[in-house]
Symmetry: C2
DNA sequence: GTTTTTTTTGACCAAACGGTCAGGTTTGTG
DNA sequence: CACAAACCTGACCGTTTGGTCAAAAAAAAC
């Protein structure tokens, strides 16, 4: 399946390139990508029910029938968008390892999450929207892939706690707070920018946000020594 | 008088009861409430675009034309649901006052937010959904009411910081993190319960969640003295 | 009791929707 | 070049949607 993030033609790739140009497969991938991007941003803006296949087609500069030619049904297209997103979402967490320095590993994790928030806000919104409405298309993944990953990494944090390297904290809930705190800047950006009194969240705001989240995580884990009563 | 299956008659209330029974106004209020509740839960489950007025009517046990009689259009009904929610949402924040004890005031605020999350999950979801999709119906409120309130309360936190009563932290972003961290337990409950490996978030989970959020807020503000390097 | 106002509702629309399809075009193959 | 396979798309279709309406029922006013 085409990745949603590659924009260039790319005449190479691993698949069997028969005879000359992979002109056909190439255009297919290009169109699929274009449709997926248009769909992602449409679903992010209006939700599943509020998005029409016609709108997606128009945004992708293709006739509606073409969209159906590539993805069959609206639901299948939506599923393709979701699949694309979930793997991205899970990635940064895998990096957390037992022999890492806790402060460094957690900081890096927050930064990765924050980068995702900034670079793929539509993806974050589609994911949020799906969760919000019951995640029927995603439930299995959550109960298996995500749960296993979280259980694993919660184990890492618990080891750190046992070793006295971080303060006792419920690791699973800490992850929930990190997810919520980072993604809120994508999912609820309207609220954020309204409160900040700006037309959009800018670089400085994102820096302040990231700093605050990191301060929060490290403080919660007892990795930031400055106490209000210590100065 | 008491028709069909209503649980409590309620002959009181403050409004002008003309002549005899406020039978008319009473039933109107009852029907409106029923429609609003049905609408809130429907919009929470399926979003604005995914909800049909017929589904709302059915959930409210009324013919569809009746829903339109009371609220005119689907959009007007949605707006009514939203208005209902926003005031609820803003309330707990007003309680934060400059001469409060910071730890107590912040703890109470988190607890209020958490209670809202537990008691009105559909309201939280509708609100989240609206923000997610641009908050066209809510933007003005956000830019005025919410912004003013946050600016005011950020001032309180800044005073506390200046007085050395809490550690330096960006107050506005701290609020963002509190909102995100509490509401995630309503908005993304499917994800939470999937990761916890339970069919639903139970009392113990909510307690752990609340404890973790409070630990996070107080730590971030330097109000929890136990440092990992201090024992 | 009679009239007026408000409420209720089944039946009914025009518009918009997801999806289909026949038939034309392009690309790959021998 | 001839042929086949894959691709493209305008036109179309059955269903569902938000919304309307006339006429009946209920309540209030006189």
């Amino acid at each position: 399946m085409a990745s949603i993030s590659d924009s260039e033609p790319r005449p190479d790739d691993s698949a069997q390139i028969q005879h000359e140009v992979g002109n056909r497969a190439n255009k297919r991938r290009l169109n699929e990508t274009q449709i997926l991007q248009a769909a992602e941003s449409a679903f992010a803006e209006r939700g599943y029910g509020g998005t029409t296949t016609a709108a997606i087609a128009k945004a992708a500069n293709l006739p509606k029938a073409n969209v159906h030619y590539y993805f069959g049904t609206k639901k299948a297209l939506y599923q393709a968008v979701l699949d694309n997103i979930l793997s991205l979402w899970l990635e940064p967490m895998r990096d957390i390892q037992e022999d890492d320095d806790p402060a460094a590993a957690l900081t890096k994790y927050v930064q990765s999450k924050m980068r995702y928030t900034r670079e793929r806000p539509s993806a974050s919104k589609v994911f949020a929207n799906e969760l919000l409405h019951g995640a029927a298309q995603l439930e299995d993944h959550l109960k298996t892939d995500l749960k296993e990953l979280v259980d694993d990494k919660a184990g890492v944090l618990n080891t750190w706690i046992k070793q006295g390297r971080i303060k006792p904290v419920d690791p699973v809930h800490l992850f929930f707070l990190i997810w919520a705190s980072t993604q809120t800047y994508a999912d609820f950006d309207v609220q954020i920018s309204a409160v900040l009194g700006k037309p959009a969240i800018d670089d400085a705001d994102f820096k302040a946000a990231e700093d605050t989240v990191i301060q929060m995580v490290l403080s919660t884990c007892g990795l930031l020594s400055t106490d209000v009563n210590s100065g």
